[in-house]
């Protein structure tokens, strides 16, 4: 559960990176965080309520849940087989289209509903050696175990704390007006498009943690080790999609290669869009280190709640986002099987309503729209936090 998942595990992890750039003071019109409105007692009570939701779900995990993830894994593998078979005939347009579509869907499911969630340890309770955070590897450029550190530990512990959560703009973008402006950010609308298309490679490099390398916190030896792991993983990924299957297609070499490339790009754009909608829409708050000093368990929950945003949609859409359309629930309970987020969402929303807290959500076009507007606006100096919804209605 979150309490243990976020517990510092090793000495290296206990000393997170210091802030690289000093936060910039903003004028007093910055909207006050709802976090400040709650009393210590309220926070404690709220912590207990959120704990209870977690415990209820974990007490009821069982056979139907296990069947769900197994079915999902089977579906992914069947889709891959179908896609690869179709693409053997990729010189014919309908085959190319069907194969590319199936492969894109397969890769999206594998990365989002399966890989991301298995690597979070959401299915470790099954004690199944094949569906386990320690042994899983996914169909993307980052080696799974490096990603687990940068994502599960760094991002999920320090969510939206400026200077500590490296996922806030991924160290290459200015996504929050508190972040200091540098001229390079003028180019961020452009390189964001490149990042979108090659997102998996961006994530792999992000896991290396350039900041820690520069500050000398990460040793050369460790860097070389991590680069090697990326090299091995990248080589396998490239061989599979751009050598092995194209060769197997014989005369369709080029069209299969193009199909595989397209599927990777589609997956990358989709993952980028969903993930950027998780923390960067207008509704979300960021936090200074001072605000979260001496944070209690209840405070931790509220920060997760305020720092994340959901995307409205139907069940199929939720599965295709790996249930990250329930980013709020995911951040409250990163180790809970994603298939349960939809079911607890009303309870989470109810807690928000009763404590006068916002429950951030909106349709995809709205969430994505505000994200891209922010990327454009903050490419220029200045800017201030967008107005926030005050509380949950209904």
């Amino acid at each position: 559960m979150s309490a243990t998942a976020t517990k510092p595990r090793t000495r290296r992890e206990r000393s997170p990176q210091p802030a690289r750039s000093k936060p910039v003071a903003l004028d007093s019109r910055e909207p006050g965080s709802p976090l400040a409105r709650l009393t210590a007692e309220q926070l404690e009570q709220l912590g207990r309520e959120f704990d209870a939701i977690h415990d209820d779900v974990f007490a009821s995990l069982g056979e139907p849940d296990a069947r769900y993830i197994r079915r999902m894994i089977r579906l992914h593998r069947q889709l891959v087989l179908a896609a690869r078979a179709l693409l053997l005939g990729s010189r014919r347009r309908p085959f190319w289209l069907a194969g590319t579509a199936a492969l894109s869907v397969a890769k999206i499911l594998e990365n989002m509903e399966i890989g991301h969630n298995v690597l979070h340890g959401q299915w470790d309770w099954m004690n199944d050696p094949d569906i386990n955070s320690q042994s899983w590897d996914w169909d993307t450029a980052s080696p799974a175990q490096a990603w687990r550190h940068s994502h599960n530990y760094e991002h999920h512990t320090f969510t939206n704390i400026r200077g500590k959560d490296r996922d806030l703009g991924y160290e290459i973008m200015r996504i929050d007006p508190h972040q200091r402006w540098y001229p390079i950010y003028l180019l961020q609308p452009l390189y964001n498009i490149v990042l979108m298309a090659f997102f998996e490679w961006g994530v792999a490099l992000h896991d290396l943690n350039a900041g820690a390398i520069r500050s000398g916190e990460k040793s050369r030896a460790q860097l070389i080790e991590e680069l090697k792991a990326i090299g091995v993983k990248a080589r396998r990924q490239v061989i599979k999609d751009y050598v092995a299957f194209p060769l197997l297609s014989g005369r369709a070499f080029k069209s299969t290669l193009a199909a595989n490339f397209t599927a990777n790009v589609i997956r990358n754009v989709w993952a980028h869009s969903i993930i950027f909608c998780g923390h960067f829409p207008d509704q979300t708050y960021t936090f200074s280190e001072d605000e979260v000093a001496a944070e209690t368990r209840g405070g931790w929950y509220v920060r997760q709640l305020l720092g994340a945003a959901n995307i409205d949609g139907r069940p199929l859409f939720h599965v295709m986002t790996g249930n990250l359309s329930f980013q709020v629930e995911h951040h409250l309970y990163p180790d809970m099987p994603s298939s349960r987020y939809a079911e607890i969402a009303p309870r989470v929303r109810d807690v928000c309503r009763r404590y006068g807290l916002p429950y951030n959500t909106g349709p995809l076009r709205k969430q994505l729209g505000t994200v891209h507007r922010t990327i454009l606006r903050l490419a220029l100096p200045g800017g201030r936090p967008r107005p926030k919804p005050e509380r949950t209605m209904g």
């Binding site: 517990k7 510092p8 595990r9 090793t10 000495r11 290296r12 995990l61 069982g62 056979e63 139907p64 849940d65 296990a66 069947r67 089977r74 593998r77 069947q78 891959v80 087989l81 690869r84 470790d124 309770w125 099954m126 004690n127 199944d128 050696p129 094949d130 386990n132 320690q134 042994s135 590897d137 996914w138 169909d139 799974a144 993983k233 396998r236 990924q237 061989i239 599979k240 050598v243 092995a244 299957f245 197997l248």
Partner: protein
């Protein structure tokens, strides 16, 4: 890391072919796709399919299991680690193999007794079906019949202690070596005797096999003193004893005093003694060299538990010394095996951290 089944013996040509296919399946393995067709084809771990479920009149159930790959074989008396999924969660248990190792159909059998308060045996009792899959771990155990078997044997069993003895009897019978066996078996009630029909049939048909059933509710327990009457030549027999701790202790003492302890071979019900039954020392500091975490144990906590409470993430499986998921290399220091109190440890020794506690400061490569 969750416990996994044993690596099956797969023809090397097939392994090489699968290795080549990995370029197409990475990061998955060809296995992952083959398992869509038949999960028994996994080359990563040995699995088995339940071929038959026999419910006994006694509260026990026999599962006849066909391993996916050729059974590596076992010696009569050994046990197998078996993984089953109960309500979505994998559980591992050790069960004595009750089958003759050389069955023509290549199947193996286990006969769990119902433990009402348990998790796995009630499941097997009510839900095991033909066609169900199980994971098969390693075969272990030193409570085995020598090869060739001694001519004159005495078996003493009680309750589900019959299960390893059954494999021995079946193997002796199949190889026509059931020449002079006395079997003293205790059970609380007549109804609870596992394999009753088979034992009685054996007793009727084989001149070389003599069965004495002791129904303890009616007749009281078998005592060492009763041996003189039930099997007067017990001193001249190679004896195999399996049952609860009290019976084991009484008989061991008797053999130690009156017989030849080397001729008594025994096993407790559970293949492994409970942790903590051995002596423990004063403990010590533990340094995990790979993660650079330090922990301390008071002597009762195994290295694994001490490390976990200090925040280390350590791979583990059974947590009772069976599966070897948690092993690490000792760099320096001595450790104590909590199962039997034995102090050991040389630099470079590979340790199971779930059953060893530090005996003074230790460094371990984990």
């Amino acid at each position: 890391m969750a416990e996994r089944g044993a690596v099956p013996t797969v023809p090397s040509g097939r392994r090489r072919a699968l290795g080549l296919l990995r370029s197409f399946t990475s990061p998955l393995r060809p296995d992952d796709y083959l398992e869509l067709i038949n999960p028994l084809w996994s080359t990563r771990e040995l699995r088995g399919r339940i071929e038959r479920v026999e419910r006994h009149t006694a509260p026990a159930v026999t599962l006849l299991i066909k391993p996916g790959w050729q059974w590596p074989g076992h010696r009569p008396g050994q046990y197998v680690r078996l993984g089953v999924e109960v309500d979505g969660v994998h559980h591992w248990r050790a069960y004595s193999l009750t089958s003759d190792p050389r069955r023509a159909d290549g199947c193996i059998a286990i006969t769990p007794k119902l433990v009402e308060s348990g998790k796995v045996s009630p499941f097997m009792f009510t839900s095991a079906r033909r066609g169900m899959l199980v994971r098969l771990g390693g075969v272990e155990g030193s409570f085995v019949l020598p090869d060739p078997p001694p001519r004159r044997l005495l078996f003493i069993s009680a309750g589900s202690g019959i299960t390893p003895i059954m494999s021995m009897l079946r193997s002796l019978c199949a190889s026509d070596r059931l020449q002079d066996v006395v079997h003293l078996h205790s059970e609380r009630t007549v109804e609870a005797v596992i394999f009753a029909a088979e034992l009685h049939a054996l007793d009727r048909r084989h001149r070389g096999y003599r069965l004495h059933e002791q129904i303890t509710r009616r007749d009281g327990r078998i005592t060492p003193a009763a041996l003189e009457q039930l099997c007067p030549d017990w001193r001249e027999r190679e004896t195999f004893l399996c049952g609860p701790a009290g019976l084991l202790a009484a008989m061991r003492e008797h053999w130690g005093r009156d017989g030849d302890p080397k001729r008594l071979h025994s096993e407790h019900f559970q293949p492994d003694a409970q942790l903590g039954s051995g002596e423990h020392g004063a403990g010590g500091m533990i340094r995990f060299c790979a993660s650079n975490i330090e922990a301390s144990s008071d002597g009762t906590q195994p290295i694994l538990v001490a490390g976990e409470s200090a925040g280390a993430t350590l791979a583990h499986g059974c947590r009772m010394g069976i599966c070897h998921s948690c092993v690490g290399t000792l760099r320096s220091g001595r450790v104590r095996d909590l199962r039997n109190g034995r102090v050991h440890g040389q630099p470079g020794e590979v340790l199971r951290i779930c059953i060893n506690a530090p005996e003074g400061p230790v460094e371990i490569d984990l």
